[in-house]
Symmetry: C3
Subunit: 255 residues, 3 copies
Amino acid sequence: MTFGPASGVPKPRAHGRTNILDKGLGLAALDDLLAVAAPFVDLAKIGWGTSLVLPDLDRRLDVYRSHDVDVCCGGTLFEYAYAIGEVDEYRAWLREHGFDHVEISNGTIDIDTEQKLAAIEQFAADFTVFSEVGSKDADAIVSPARWVRSIQQELGAGASSVILEGRESGTAGMYRKSGEMRTGLIDEVLEAGIDPHQLVFEAPLKQHQVYLIRLIGADVNLANIAPEEAVPLETLRRGLRSDTLAMFHAGVSAD
Amino acid sequence: MTFGPASGVPKPRAHGRTNILDKGLGLAALDDLLAVAAPFVDLAKIGWGTSLVLPDLDRRLDVYRSHDVDVCCGGTLFEYAYAIGEVDEYRAWLREHGFDHVEISNGTIDIDTEQKLAAIEQFAADFTVFSEVGSKDADAIVSPARWVRSIQQELGAGASSVILEGRESGTAGMYRKSGEMRTGLIDEVLEAGIDPHQLVFEAPLKQHQVYLIRLIGADVNLANIAPEEAVPLETLRRGLRSDTLAMFHAGVSAD
Amino acid sequence: MTFGPASGVPKPRAHGRTNILDKGLGLAALDDLLAVAAPFVDLAKIGWGTSLVLPDLDRRLDVYRSHDVDVCCGGTLFEYAYAIGEVDEYRAWLREHGFDHVEISNGTIDIDTEQKLAAIEQFAADFTVFSEVGSKDADAIVSPARWVRSIQQELGAGASSVILEGRESGTAGMYRKSGEMRTGLIDEVLEAGIDPHQLVFEAPLKQHQVYLIRLIGADVNLANIAPEEAVPLETLRRGLRSDTLAMFHAGVSAD
C-alpha cells in the first residue's frame, strides 16, 4: 500500500518559504498551531509595530525559536524608528531581543532611495535584511520600471531578498484596491531577469497564492500568510487541493 | 422564572446537522472549541487533501471521537487517489485510520458518471458515503437538470446523503462567482421531489445559512461551516439572532 | 536607549474603550488571548442570544472578570426577552449571573420609543445601560435626524452611552449594505453637539476603525471588534501601523 503522506521539503529551505503574519496571537495558541504547522512555516513577521504593544515579546520569540521558525518585525517598525530619529536605537533594541532578521521598507513614509539603500547596507552587517518595495497606500500606483530598479538596487545593497508589498488585505502594492493582482507588474519584474527565488510575494488571499504557484512553481516564496492558512497553503504547494491538483499530478485533467 | 437556555436537539441527529471544515486547527484549540461547540457539531470534514499533510492525523481523530463528532476526509482526497490510480489503497488507508465515512466527488477532475456511481456503490459496502455534486470551478455552471439527475442517481447508488458544492468560500457550485446563491437551482432540486433532509448544503457564509434556514427550516443540513461559526449557526437555528428571531418567535414582527 | 514600548492608557478607561465581540470562543483560547490583549480590552459583548446556547456561561464570565474585562449580553437578547414577554425574567437572569451591564436595543423588532426609554430607565436603576440605535436590517435607512433624537432621548433616560449599530459585518446601521460608512450620518450626529465620548461606534472593519480614529481621535470608543483584532486596533490607536503613523508622529509625512 503506497497511499499516504507525500513528503515535503524539509527546513531550512532556501526557496518555497512560507512567512506567516503574527498580529498578536495568544502564546498557547501559537505554540499549539506550530505543533501542527511549523514544518511548513519558515518565518513569522510580527506585523508593523505590534512588537511594541505585546506584553510578552521575549516569550513569544522563544516559542518561535523552539519550533525552528525565524522571526522579524514589520517594516513599519523600521519606518517608525526612522521617523522619530531612532534608527540606531532600533538596531540596539533588535539585538537586545535577539532578532537575526530585519525588514527595511518605505511603504508608509518618504525615505530617499539613497537613505534606504544606506540603511540596508548598514543593517546587512549584523542582520539578514529583507527589504520591501511598493506602497501601503492603495491609491499609489508605482510603475513597474520603478519596482524593477528598486529591487535591483536593494539586492545590490545587501538585501537577502526583496518583499513585494501586499499588506494584510491584498489590496495595495502588488494588488489593486479591488484585490486584483497587478499581473503586468509581476510579468515585468520577472522579464527583467530578476530571480524569483530572491523575491518574497505578500499573498494573503488564496487566489493570489494559487496564481503565484501556477506562475512560478511550488517553491515560490510567499508572505503575509495568516497563521491558520499555513497548512492550507502547504496543500496547494503539494497539489492536494482542487486549485493545483491538475498542475502536480500527471494525467489529471481539470474540469 | 422561566427565562433561560432553550434546549436544542440532542445528538445523534438525522437532520439539522452541522458539519464543520477543519483545515488544520491546533489540537488543543480543537479540543477547547469542541468543549463549547460539540453539542452543535455532527461531523468534521478535514478539508481536501489536508489529511496527508497533518503530522497528527490519528490524535486529531481521537479528539473528534472524544467529543462524539464524526470525521471524514474531503472529496478531493478521493479524487487525488482516483487520479493517481490508488482508489483501493485509499480505501485501505481510510480503514487503517478508522474512518467510518467517506466523501466521493468529481468536482475537480473528470470522472464518468458510471465510474462515480460504481465508486459510491463500492465504498457504501464499508462506509457511510457522502457524495458531492457541483463543480469547484467557479466558471463551470452545471444545469439544474444535471444536478437533479446526479443527486437521484447517487442516492440510488448508495450515498447516505448528497452534498451540494459550495467550497470554503461560497463562490462555486451552488453559488455564483460573486457569492450570490443560485436560488433557482435550489428551487428546481426541491421541486424535483428530492427530500431536503437527504441533502447537505455547503454554506460557509452567514447570509446563505440564513437563506437556507428560512427556506427549509432549522433542521436543514449545513456544511463547510468554519469551526468558530458552529455556535453562531446554532443561534440562527434557535431564533436567537436578529436574522431568524422573527421566524421562530410568534408575535415578533421584524422591522 | 529610548526606543521601546510606548505606554498606553491604563484601565479603567472612560474613553478610548475597545469592546470585543465574543461569539463562542473556546475558554482556554479566551484566557490565552486575554493574557496578551486584556490591557487593551474594556468590555466583551457575548453576541446576540449566544449566552443561552453556551454550555459554560458562568465559567466564561469568570475568565473575563479575572482579566478585568466587563461583560454584557447582546441587545438581541433583550429584544428576545421583550418579544416573548419576559423582560422581568431577563433582568432576574442577568442578576443571577452577576452581570453589571446590559444592552437595550430595538434593532430587530418594533419597540415603541416610549417603551424603549422606559426600559432604559428601569434597567438603569440596577445596571450600567448601553442603549443602541440603528437597525440591523441592511435595507432600513434611518434618517440622521432620527438617530440624533434617539441618542439624546436615550442618554436622557439614563443610558451611560449609546452604541451606533454596525453588526458583526459592518454592513448595516451606520454602514451601507456595501460596507461604505454613512459619513454624513456621523457628521450630523457630531454636529448636533453630542459628545463623541458618550458614543460607542460598532466598527468591525479596519478601514472604519481608521476613519473614526482620524475623525475623533485615538480615544474614540469602538465596539464589535473581533477578539483577535484587539491588539491590531491598539497599534492603530498608538500610531504604530501605517494607517495612523503620520497622524501621531510629528514630522512623518505620509506618501
